[in-house]
Symmetry: C3
Subunit: 473 residues, 3 copies
Amino acid sequence: MINEFNEIFHPDRFFGPSSEIIDIARELYSNVKDLPIVSPHGHVDPKLLALNQPFPDPTELFLIPDHYIFRMLYSQGIRLEDLGIPTIDGTPVETDHKKIWKIFAENFHLFLGTPTGIWLTHELNDVFGITERLNSKNAIEIYNLIEKKLNEPDMLPRNLFDRFNIEVLSTTDSASDDLEYHKMIKESDWNGRVIPTFRPDAVVNIDKPEWKEEIQKLARSVKTQINNFSDFIEALKARRKFFIEMGAVATDHGVQSGYTHELEKSEVESIFNKAIDGKATAEDTNAFVAHMLIEFARMSLEDGLVMQIHAGANRNHNNIIADKFGSDKGCDIPGRSDFTNGLKELLNKFGNKPHLTIIVFTLDETTYSRELAPLAGHYPALKIGPAWWFHDSIEGMTRYRERITETAGFYNTVGFNDDTRAFLSIPARHDVARRVDSNFVAGLVVRHIITFEEGQKIMKDLTYNLVKKAYKL
Amino acid sequence: MINEFNEIFHPDRFFGPSSEIIDIARELYSNVKDLPIVSPHGHVDPKLLALNQPFPDPTELFLIPDHYIFRMLYSQGIRLEDLGIPTIDGTPVETDHKKIWKIFAENFHLFLGTPTGIWLTHELNDVFGITERLNSKNAIEIYNLIEKKLNEPDMLPRNLFDRFNIEVLSTTDSASDDLEYHKMIKESDWNGRVIPTFRPDAVVNIDKPEWKEEIQKLARSVKTQINNFSDFIEALKARRKFFIEMGAVATDHGVQSGYTHELEKSEVESIFNKAIDGKATAEDTNAFVAHMLIEFARMSLEDGLVMQIHAGANRNHNNIIADKFGSDKGCDIPGRSDFTNGLKELLNKFGNKPHLTIIVFTLDETTYSRELAPLAGHYPALKIGPAWWFHDSIEGMTRYRERITETAGFYNTVGFNDDTRAFLSIPARHDVARRVDSNFVAGLVVRHIITFEEGQKIMKDLTYNLVKKAYKL
Amino acid sequence: MINEFNEIFHPDRFFGPSSEIIDIARELYSNVKDLPIVSPHGHVDPKLLALNQPFPDPTELFLIPDHYIFRMLYSQGIRLEDLGIPTIDGTPVETDHKKIWKIFAENFHLFLGTPTGIWLTHELNDVFGITERLNSKNAIEIYNLIEKKLNEPDMLPRNLFDRFNIEVLSTTDSASDDLEYHKMIKESDWNGRVIPTFRPDAVVNIDKPEWKEEIQKLARSVKTQINNFSDFIEALKARRKFFIEMGAVATDHGVQSGYTHELEKSEVESIFNKAIDGKATAEDTNAFVAHMLIEFARMSLEDGLVMQIHAGANRNHNNIIADKFGSDKGCDIPGRSDFTNGLKELLNKFGNKPHLTIIVFTLDETTYSRELAPLAGHYPALKIGPAWWFHDSIEGMTRYRERITETAGFYNTVGFNDDTRAFLSIPARHDVARRVDSNFVAGLVVRHIITFEEGQKIMKDLTYNLVKKAYKL
């Protein structure tokens, strides 16, 4: 018995806790495991698939860009400099990538029981054929093996895209992006579907020092001047049109609170002018963001783009790290959210429109059963995005289903988002989601809440049909 | 194996996740499944049992009055007009009940995994003998079968009441209600025990446009004038006396925040006078409600009525629906609650009185382990009401027990409330509660936290003894 | 089958819910059950081990000092006076300890499913050999048996300490304590390691009536005068030095909100002077506490003491009980916490220091996955204390692991704290923790998230290595 429990990549992994559940989950999973991957929200760089160059070395590939990994190492007292994380001011950092890999391998026990550990184990096994857990002894051997494999033609990004059976991959792109790499992909002889997503956060956060520059970029992208709020709105509409031409089906909005409130025309114009003068305060920004969510919903109603709202992260909580290494360095920390009050105005204006789709993602799990499920189980426009970020995990996704399904059902959810910048981890992440959903649905079947046949149909919807419907793919 | 999992009404339903738990849960359940139903809080119309007329057609019976059902259909873009939900302004709505039933049947998959789906499956099976899941193919056949059965004498409300083995059924009645139908039942030759509950919300929400009319109704009901706060208090006391004579054992208070605070006499008088002048603000209302919870507790201490507080719903979140269709149309949305601070003054004044019973219901599950269990595990007057509304579900009731029992034990809870206006669903709801509790207690037995014999005793208390004791029935 | 489920002290207790999990949990537990007990935070009176006198009678031993027990009895309407709880003003209370014990025994069903019930069952079985559940029939017989045993030499505190296999036991001591009993233990011929913990709450809560007296005690303890804030800081540093000499490895801070904010020097001095004049307000106190957490972290950075923050209790929620019986009488009630904002300043100042250790304990379980795991999974100085107080229970500890592990891993946690003043319950509490952790880890093994061998290593770390490392023991 114990032997079976020493495999690191068991075919029944993540099923449990009882043989009754495991048996049903295995059956349900077998019907969905090979369905194509639909990835409607993520952060893969389109350049990767445009240029189709070999991946860099293992440390550059797995570790340096992945804040899930280096935040955990940092939490145990390992300096980011020693992990080769580049500094903003150019202070030199470790460049010996084998040395960095060794630190990672020595500390792999930190990732036991975490999704990062699971994804990496999957990638090493499934993509590179490695059947051992990474550790200090096998670190360099595994490094060399990966490095060698990365240079094989099979391992070029487009070949992996096809092998991963990705039907569509969405990237996330700033409002003024020229989508050069998307064009390159479209114009190539490769048929992979890679589409942009319109994310205008940088032009909405009016108190950021870089905002002025972002507005100028936006202006250049539409070849006009942006001197006032009307110009701004027109520019955004033009950019959305361009994104749609380039295949976009959705927008994305990263906000701290999710509060929505439409300002008087004169108010919003005056705040915008203040921003142009470099005088916008944090309070102005909150009011402006709350207003812009209403504006963006109005645009979505017109142009059909699905509106995604990712709410609840306190970005750059650790000033020392943010100042030295920049954003997205593992120091974004969730806080409480209040969707019942925050989304009220947005939903009263547009929530009753069945042709609008607003997908909300939360980092505050208390809002699942208390707010999001009751809201999405009523308003036609509102859907609940999958378990996000820190909650994109076995227990996190299980809690998501347990707390949402009874009030909102399965059909006010929208399938899975991998939300990753780590291209190689996409199959691992979708596989975890399919397994966790299979296990959850098996729990319903075992308890005779639904039948096995209903469970099979639901699994196909959760894996493939719902995401295509929600994102109009 | 799979065949067993295609039954929709399995005798072991809702037990799991392992055979160890299922075996014990089945045993525990078998001892309580036939105990009489005690229903201390609900919304069945007493007229139903007073007049004892046949039920209307299936759509009128199951769908049109049930906001759990039509909110889910609405969330998927089906118009309430198309479901026959009556409008306030009399705008015509669909009247072809078979057509509406068909929409419901076609969309029954929306309810898979939800309590509504479970209750309906139970009712169709147990009351009407239907062994198939409702779907677009069998919709009309099932409609016809139900319609036919509804005209059989067995299906008259009083016969069902007896067949359901209901020992007592509480209704919910406004403060000025003449309890005409309760009188009719009492004076009839039928022995069913149907008792009123005193719910004075309409005369307490002083900023509602209808408040003035409600106060006049209250005044008429006690045949005096209500010109000031003292008159108001005296009227309430008189009405409580009348309700008690008519069999009432409890009051009920639906409040948004659960905040309690006694005002100075002059303050409350001045707010009341402002209300009489039609000038009460939202802020006044909050202060008045906070004060009235203290007053009502004081009255309960005198007259012995159990005080129920249902806190946390933001009523009529969707103005468009509320304006067109009225209240209780599926657009009440929970928000955060704070009982630790909110109930502090009430509990400091009256919480130490062992002969007073205050039962609190929450829509914010985070308060179970953080606030309500610690409070109820200390204050003699405070008890925790069962999992409520969106949480009256398998996972919801399981979370309730898991988060409350370790701090408050079983004996600071009060059994189950079905809280329903759907008379036919009462046995289904109590059956789910009995099964979920059996399963939870089986989990304790399997893990040797309590013995099987202790589990049997606890199950009888949770099902029958605690509710009778808490509500003094 | 049923017979097995009528044992009250089963060797597989707390394992479940399936045979798959039970089998692995039993194996994992068998490797850690006999490891020494390391108790880095608790409230055992050092006098007990200094004087090494026989324990008093069962009621005095188990009931009167244990607010977990009498709060539950009180919640069911039993007066504290009838339980012999001493009053502040000397009002006489029940002194017949057999009579009190009988009340407890008659009501033992209140504790079924609670940790108190589990701990007591363990103690009676393991220490006194009692194999029946306490009840009204066996109450006096059990009382007599315990009383007799308590006079055997085996039952002297030091003998039990050795038999319990306690490697180190931390007490909690006020800033001005002379640590007389710690000295007595050190100077005795007994080798048990009992160390103090520096808890300066009483000198920090500047609006308490007793604060002035506490400051005078502090001044006397360092043989100087404390006339201003600098004197105060110097006195604290001197006391910490003394505590370190006496073996202390940690400080402890009980705070309501966990908010941290450094004041300007002039501001904090002025607040301190206000306090000296007896004029400090609640607002001043909050500002002062927020400032002092920063000061204490700065001191810890210098002197190496581990900093523990216990946040979230509303002390003495029930004024009637607090006024009549004093503090720690079961009427402390948790409220919401906000660590993301509250700890931000502290963590920005000191959170990046890998040699500092700040251990945070929460009573608000919503902060596990939303705040504490993301924070501890990033900041090197921050660790998450084990499930605390109301959550030191089977379900509570399970939720703790489920919500923390995926983001913070196992290695940003610090093992178990028994946090008890009930010396006899220490082995029971550690045993519950070891069993719950074994069961949680077995869940990972059964689901092939980690291997059995990895699970074995993790269990040893959770039980023994992590606590020693975190507290530098």
